[in-house]
Symmetry: C2
C-alpha cells in the first residue's frame, strides 16, 4: 500500500511539476510576446485610455489636451451641464442652437473607438513633402476618390484634388484662382440670399485688387451677361435653408464655386454626382471633425488647380501632415465598415429622427413654421428620400414678430438671426447637428413656447422683454482670451 501510495503521489507530483513548468513557460513567453506586441507606444496608449475613461455623465468629455486638475484633464461639459462630472443640469439655461458644431456624429466615433484610434510617432512626417514632392498625401487622396465613388455625390475621374484647412481656406483659394488677376478688371463675387456669410466677409477681408464682393446674385440676372468675370458661390444643400441650389448665372464669364459641405446622405438625398468645374467638400459635416480643419476641392481645369495649389503654398504651405494622417484614419474607418455606408446610415437616422421630433412640435403651431423640404431619388440609398437638413430655418408667422431671433431668445432658444445670412430677421437658423443634449433642450423649449401659444394669441405677442438681436456668428467670429 505504501508503494502504491508512493507511486500515485509520484505521478501526481510529476504531473504537477510539469504543469508548473508549463505555466512558467507560458508566463515567460507572454511577458515578452503578448505584451511585447507593444513597446514605445504603450505609455501613450495607457494615457489616452485613462483620459477616455474619465466619466463625464454622458453630458461631456475629457480630452488629452484639456486643462488639468491633478494629473488628469477635467470634463468639458455640454451646454447647460456643469459640475465635476457634468451631471449638474441648469434648467433655466438657454438651448444654444447657434453654431454648426457637428457633434451629432460624436457617438458614431465613440462606438468605433478601436477602429478609429490613431498612434502618431514622434518622428511622423517631420519634413515638408511626400515622396512625390507635393504636400498632399496620395493615400488620403485615393481614399477621398473611393468615398465619392461609394456615395455617388461627385465625379472625380479626370479631376484634380487640392487640400485645404477646411472648406474655409479653399473658398478664398477658389476665388483667387478664378479671378483673372494681372491688373485687369477685378472679378465680381456674388451669392444668393440667404447664404453663408463667410463668402462676403472673407472676400471683403482680403481686399484684393483682383476681386470684389458685388452683392446678391439677383442683381446680375437682369444684366444677362457680363464683360468681366463674375464668380458665383452656390451652397448646395444651402446653409441655412437646406435647398439644393443651382448656379443661376450662366455664360462664358460666369464661374461657379459649389460649396458641397452638406452634400452627404446625412442631410440630403443625392440626386446625382456633381460633375461641375469646381466643388468644395469638408470633413466637418461629413465625419463631424470640424476641429481638424480639413477640406478638399475637386477641380476640372488644370490651370485653376495650379493656382489653388499656389494659394495653399503661399498661405500655409499646405495642410498639416498631422491633420492629413488623422483624416486618412477617419476615412479608412468609414470605408472598412459596410463598404463605407454605416456612417451615412447613422447620420441619416439621427437627422431624420431629429426632424421628426422638431416637425411634430412645430406642426401644431400657427406662430412658427419650418422650411419645406423636398423629396428626391437618392443614388446612394437607391430610393426616394426626404431631406433632413443640418438646420431648421424657422419663420415667425405673426406679422408683428419680425424679430424672430428675439422671440426665441426670450423663450430660451439661441438661434442665428436671418440677417446674418442676408435674409430678414423673420427667420432664424436652428442648428440640429449639435449634441443630443442641445437638440433635446431645443425641443423642450420649443414645446413650451408652442404650448403657450393659445394664451399668448389672446393677448397678442408684442415681443415684450425681448433682448436686442446681436448677430452671434460663432463659426467665424473670433473669440479672444484675455491673459
Amino acid at each position: 500500500m505504501g508503494n502504491k501510495s508512493l507511486s500515485k503521489h509520484s505521478t501526481c507530483l510529476v504531473f504537477s511539476i510539469l504543469l508548473n513548468f508549463l505555466l512558467f513557460g507560458y508566463n515567460l513567453y507572454f511577458s515578452t510576446v503578448d505584451d511585447g506586441g507593444l513597446s514605445w507606444s504603450r505609455g501613450a496608449a495607457e494615457e489616452a485610455e485613462a483620459v477616455a475613461a474619465i466619466s463625464c455623465s454622458g453630458h461631456g468629455r475629457a480630452y488629452l489636451d484639456g486643462v488639468t486638475s491633478g494629473d488628469l484633464p477635467v470634463c468639458e461639459c455640454n451646454t447647460c451641464y456643469g459640475g465635476r462630472d457634468c451631471s449638474k443640469f441648469s434648467p433655466s439655461c438657454s438651448a444654444d442652437v447657434d453654431s454648426g458644431n457637428p457633434l451629432f456624429l460624436e457617438p458614431y466615433w465613440r462606438q468605433r473607438a478601436a477602429a478609429s484610434a490613431l498612434v502618431v510617432s514622434g518622428w511622423h512626417r517631420m519634413g515638408y513633402s511626400f515622396p512625390d514632392g507635393t504636400n498632399i498625401s496620395p493615400e488620403l487622396e485615393r481614399h477621398i476618390r473611393q468615398l465619392h465613388a461609394v456615395v455617388g455625390n461627385a465625379v472625380t475621374e479626370g479631376r484634380f484634388i487640392v487640400f485645404g484647412a477646411g472648406s474655409t481656406q479653399l473658398l478664398n483659394a477658389a476665388v483667387h484662382a478664378l479671378s483673372p488677376g494681372g491688373g485687369g478688371v477685378a472679378a465680381g463675387v456674388v451669392a444668393t440670399a440667404p447664404f453663408y456669410p463667410i463668402y462676403e466677409l472673407q472676400t471683403e477681408y482680403f481686399a484684393s485688387v483682383d476681386f470684389q464682393y458685388q452683392g446678391d446674385t439677383s442683381l446680375w440676372i437682369a444684366g444677362g451677361n457680363s464683360s468681366s468675370t463674375i464668380i458665383e458661390f452656390v451652397t448646395s444643400p444651402n446653409n441655412p435653408d437646406g435647398k439644393l441650389n443651382e448656379a443661376v448665372l450662366k455664360g462664358p464669364n460666369f464661374k461657379a464655386i459649389y460649396d458641397r459641405a452638406y452634400y452627404w446622405p446625412h442631410f440630403t438625398p443625392i440626386p446625382a454626382a456633381d460633375d461641375g468645374e469646381l466643388k468644395i467638400f469638408t470633413l466637418s459635416k461629413l465625419t463631424g471633425h470640424a476641429g481638424s480643419r480639413f477640406g478638399w476641392a475637386i477641380v476640372k481645369d488644370e490651370d485653376v488647380y495650379n493656382k489653388m495649389l499656389m494659394h495653399m503654398q503661399l498661405n500655409t504651405m499646405g495642410v498639416s501632415r498631422d491633420t492629413q494622417l488623422r483624416a486618412l484614419k477617419l476615412l479608412k474607418t468609414i470605408m472598412a465598415e459596410g463598404g463605407g455606408r454605416t456612417i451615412f446610415d447613422f447620420g441619416y437616422q439621427t437627422m431624420k429622427s431629429r426632424w421628426e421630433k422638431l416637425r411634430k412640435v412645430v406642426s401644431v403651431s400657427k406662430r412658427f413654421s419650418l422650411q419645406d423640404v423636398s423629396s428626391h431619388y437618392c443614388v446612394f440609398s437607391g430610393r426616394v428620400r426626404e431631406s433632413s437638413p443640418a438646420y431648421g430655418w424657422l419663420k415667425c408667422e405673426r406679422e408683428e414678430e419680425s424679430d424672430c431671433y428675439g422671440v426665441l431668445k426670450a423663450a430660451g432658444i439661441i438661434g442665428r438671426g436671418g440677417s446674418v445670412f442676408y435674409a430678414t430677421d423673420r427667420n432664424v437658423r436652428l442648428s440640429l447637428i449639435k449634441t443630443r443634449d442641445d437638440f433635446d433642450l431645443l425641443v423642450d423649449k420649443l414645446q413650451k413656447l408652442v404650448s403657450a401659444e393659445q394664451d399668448e394669441e389672446e393677448g397678442g405677442g408684442d415681443g415684450n422683454g425681448i433682448e436686442q438681436h446681436v448677430a452671434n456668428v460663432t463659426e467665424y467670429q473670433p473669440l479672444r482670451r484675455r491673459m
Copy 2:
C-alpha cells in the same frame, strides 16, 4: 522509509500544487489587468509599432500614411538612396541641400519614441472650440510660455499669443494687422536683401489694396521718415546668412515683424529675450516638425492681436486641433526632460559638428568662402558661443564664377542661388539642417571640388558645362502631381 518517502513526496506535491495555483492566479490576474491597461488603443498601437519596425537601413523611414506594398507602407528613402530598404546608394547622385527640411532633429525624436508617442481618439476635439470659446489650446499656449522662459529668447509676460499654420500664415496675418486699411494709403512692405523670398511673394500674391511690396529696406533709409506705414520684415537670425539682424527703420510709422524661426540655441547664441512688438516663431526649426505647420506670434498690442485672430478665423478658422494636440505632445516631451534643455544640446551639438566639418573643407580653398559667424554671450547656455546657422552662405571668390549655383550644380551640389534671396548669384545657400546623409554627401562633393582646385586654377574655371540656373525654391514652390 516508505512513510518517510511518502511524507516527502506529499510535501513536494502540496508545494507544487500551491505553486500551480499561484501561477494560475498570476496568469488570470495579468491576462485581465496588465494587458487590460489597454483595450481600444491596442490595435492602433500595434499598427504603429509594425510600421516603425520596418527596416529602411537607416537611410529612410516608413510612415503610417505611406503608400503601401502588400499590407505595409513602403520605405521613403533619403536622397540618393533607393531600393526596397533604402540600402542602395547612387554615387553619381547630386547632394541636395536646397530646402530647409529640418530632418537633422529626426534622430532626437527616434531616441524618444515612448515619450513623444501620441494616441488620438476617434472623437478627439470634433468641435470648433476649446471651453473658453477660442480655437487656441490653453495648455499649448501655457507650454509655449514656459519654453520661452527656459530658453530666454522672448518676453511673453503681458503679451498675447496667436497660433498659425506655420510662420507662413502668421507673416501675412501680421502684415494685414499692421496695415491701417480702411481705404487709406496702402502700407509699404520692405525687407533687407538677402532675405527669405516668401515675404515678397506672399505680399504680392495677396494683392491687397491695404498693402504693397515696396522693395529693399535701404530705399527707405535715405528718406528718413515716411508719412504712410512701412512694415519691415526682419529675420533674425537671417535666412540665408544667419546674421542677427535688427530693424533698420525707426520712427512712428515704421513697424517691424520679427521672424524668429531660427532664434533657438541650435543655431545661435541667444543674446537677449526679444522684447519687441511682434515676433513670430515656428515649430519647424525648433522641433523639426515642418510638416505639422504650426507657428505662433507673440504680440504686444491688443488691437494688432485681435486683427491677427480675425485673419486666422476668416482664413482657416484657426489651426487644426489635431496639430495643436501634436505640438503640445512635442513640447511636453521637450519640457519633461532636463528642464527643456536636451533638445537644444542635441540640436547645437549636431549643428556645431556639421559646421566644423564644413569649415574644415572650405578653409583650404581660395575659390570658395563661407560667411563669418559671430560669437555672443548666450543667456541660455550661460557662456560665449559661436553661431551655428541653419545655412551655409557660400561665396564663389573667382571673379569669373558669378554663377556660383551653376558651379556647384556642375559638381553635384544642389544649393539655392543667391538671386532667390534677392542677392547676386555669387552666393549659394547650402542647407545644413537636412538628414545626415544629405550633409555627408555635401561634404563629400565639396571635398572633391576643393581637392581639384589646384588643377582647375591652372586652366582657369570658365563655368563650362554649367547648366542654366533655375531658381528651385522647394519650401514654397508648389509641386503638383498629375493624375
